[in-house]
Amino acid sequence: MAESSIEPAHIHAPPEGFIRKYVFSLDHKMIGKQYFGLALVAVFTGMILSWLMRIHMVWPAAKIPGLQFLSSAGAPGGVITPEYYLSLMTMHGTLMVFFVLTNAPFAAFGNFFLPIQIGAEDMAFPRFNMMSFWVTFTAWVVLMLAFFIPDGPPIAGWTSYAPLSAVGKDAGPGMQYGMSLWGLSIAIFCIGSLLGALNFIATTLDLRAKGMTLMRMPICTWAWFITSCIALLAFAVLLPACILLILDRHAGTSFYVPGGLVVSDRVQPHSGGSPLLWQHLFWFFGHPEVYIAILPSMGIISHILINSMRKPLLSSKVVIYSMMSIGFLSYMVWGHHMFLSGMNPMSALAFSFPTLTITIPATVLTLIWLGSLYGSNLQINSASLFALGFISMFVAGGVSGFFLAQPSIDIYLHATYFVVGHFHMVMGVASLFGVFAATYFWFPKMSGRMMNETLGKLHFWITFVGTYCIFMPFHYLGLIGNVRRYQSFVDDFMAPYIGWHKFITICALITGAAQFIFLYNLIHSRFKGKPASDNPWNATTLEWTIPSPPPWNNFGDKHPIVYHDPFQYGVKGSKGDYVMQDSPEQVVPASGD
């Protein structure tokens, strides 16, 4: 913020030409849209993979027309083989966790709105920012290549446990080149995410407009900031973990592989490594990753709810501090993924307590959201429906976490559908509800056009009810001991429950199909939507003070000055019941408050 004679790095000339404007753009808004586009491609790919898995599970003989062209070995005649099921599962998980849940709520919306919300012209390092996206894009290309190589995608799951992932082609189909592509892709992804996280942190700390103190930042800006701090530490551990995996696979090292293993009748040329090392490194990243996925959505839905309720939350500060404590605690809980991994049973207790404790800030957040609804003038639209849906989903997925945090219960529920239901609901769908809410809310600003509300609401209803129909039964099936990662239900006791799996598959097909309504709405509104005003939601934060869509340098030649806390709703302002952050007018509380 201090004036200096050297031109600050974040000031750049307006883009000229197609390439600089749409491809190698330095503009954080275009980069945000690029991340969004990549996440969109990844989420539909991931969703179709989940359809294939669900169909194969309940109708194993089903022919999927055209699938044989993708993999003649994996799906001869369009019928999925057991090993191809594991390939689909691995790619589904990897795409969703990395390229959707990390990219969409954090990188896409954070890139577009964090600089504007703090009154900056761009990110602190626009070239790094461009690089983050293109590095991430490269990671996606490398991962997708696995579909098109002869041995196909890996079959080790998105967690890629060693030694299965480390011993090469002896471990099965897809484990030669497919697995190497996976390791390389994730290592590249880590680099992109690290650059992005650094940029977010520098931007937040250095480029805030005059008057924009830290506590005057909107809650979602805070969420993106806290998330970038988590991402910086988490990806910094996953990157070396992947490098060690690549070394084990190709350089003959033995970080993860002990001696004396006989895989596919071959004594493996390794000795001295530990499979637990991979698990520790992976989950040291893996658990904070859950919060990288959901914290931005917590911020986003807080932001949108406040606007829809026309009143601030009971306390923004408490929300921010709760998110910080979640971020902090997220580093002490990774071992709860490893209760049964053979690590010292004492450590299960040490990991169980912080895990249970994380429920406290999560409950504070939920109670604040619920309590803030009381006495509000809640406006219902597609964005607020998804925000309210997020709360419902977060509670549902949160309470099931309470089971798994206890090592004694984990003995029974570990590796069952209970776990699958739990993390899909809280990390998957709840986070995506935040993304949907954000899309409906900010699309007018991003594109200059409104989205269709009727289609938006239809999308919400099918997705909301459909999600419960899919993932609640997952929990129930977990209770009877239904094991996850099975392509077929061969266990004797599963016979009476196949009907439930069929029900889930049908719900998944319907709920997935509803996502095409969203896609249609997105594309149609982009070109044919009603033109949006600068501030269609009567909102208060800085992004609504500038044109829709914003000019390349956000605020033109003006430098916004901030006078207020971000959420001055329910007041007597010159424009109505709100006062914008950059308005010098005094805030007069409305009567009756």
Binding site: I409, K457, Q487
Partner: protein, 266 residues
């Protein structure tokens, strides 16, 4: 639309609770001495989590119902007590839950993992491999022969890589594809992974434990009911993972002795 959301939320809360309340989905009958504690813990957690889930959904529904579609300009109100009440409530409610479940519940974990097996526990070695389990009994001498990875020969059924020609201990080892154990006797299962990570899961026994290559792990349990139960692998181990299973056969003490004799005679 707000009212509709409220109604849907109530339906979701009640419909989600229904299969739990009516016991449509319950774990199979416990056949272990320690499982009771786990089941109790599961029940207590289900009660507390279930009540929290339903209550939160109903409160959400009630507030959405009450505060949507109000007349324009309706006065805003704040929840009595504000954020302070929420923070205190969260600490009290969840704090109590953590103390109740977290601390008391460790007993169930401790019975499985902290208490050492009794000295007279029967030692059986379990080997997990792609995609089968094999079990080894030490035989009359009470000693296991050493595992030689280079001598493993599946074709000749030498799953453990034993060397009976040169090792006396290996000669009477009994190898079986089925885990046969006497009822009401403590079993210590010594776990060995031949190739990659696997896991040992018997729902009725309330036991699940990973096989980790390179680590000597063990679990111990006492089965209390005669019968046959599925042992399944729960750690993704490759393309045949879904089909990797064996059976636990709990038999009477007499049948166990007879089975050992029959196996030794082979």
């Amino acid at each position: 639309m707000g009212k509709l959301l409220a109604i849907v939320l109530v339906i979701i809360a009640l419909a989600s609770a229904y299969p739990i309340v009516t016991h449509m989905f319950v774990p199979p009958v416990d056949i272990s001495t320690h499982g009771h504690a786990i089941d109790e813990q599961l029940k207590d957690t289900m009660f507390e989590a279930g009540v929290s889930f339903v209550a939160a959904q109903l409160v959400l529904a009630f507030f959405v119902w009450s505060f949507t579609g109000r007349k324009a300009g309706s006065p805003l109100k704040n929840f009595p007590g504000g954020a302070r009440v929420m923070v205190i409530a969260a600490f009290l409610l969840v704090g109590t839950e953590i103390l109740a479940l977290g601390i008391l519940g460790q007993k169930a974990w401790a019975t499985v993992y902290f208490a050492p097996p009794k000295p007279d526990a029967i030692q059986i070695q379990a080997q997990a491999e792609q995609f089968a389990f094999y079990f080894r009994y030490p035989g009359a001498d009470g000693k296991f022969g050493t595992i030689h990875p280079d001598k493993i020969d599946e074709g000749n059924q030498n799953y453990f890589g034993l060397d009976p020609a040169n090792e006396v201990e290996a000669r009477d080892d009994i190898v079986s594809g089925e885990l046969v154990v006497p009822v009401n006797r403590e079993i210590q299962l010594l776990m060995h992974a031949k190739d990659v990570g696997h896991s040992f899961y018997v729902r009725e026994l309330r036991i699940q434990q990973d096989f980790v290559p390179g680590l000597d792990l063990s679990v111990h349990f006492t089965a209390t009911q005669i019968g046959k139960y599925e042992i399944v692998c729960t750690q993704l181990c490759g393309l045949g993972h879904y089909n990797m299973k064996a059976y636990l056969n709990v038999v009477s003490e007499a049948d166990y002795e007879k089975w050992l004799k029959d196996q030794a005679a082979q």
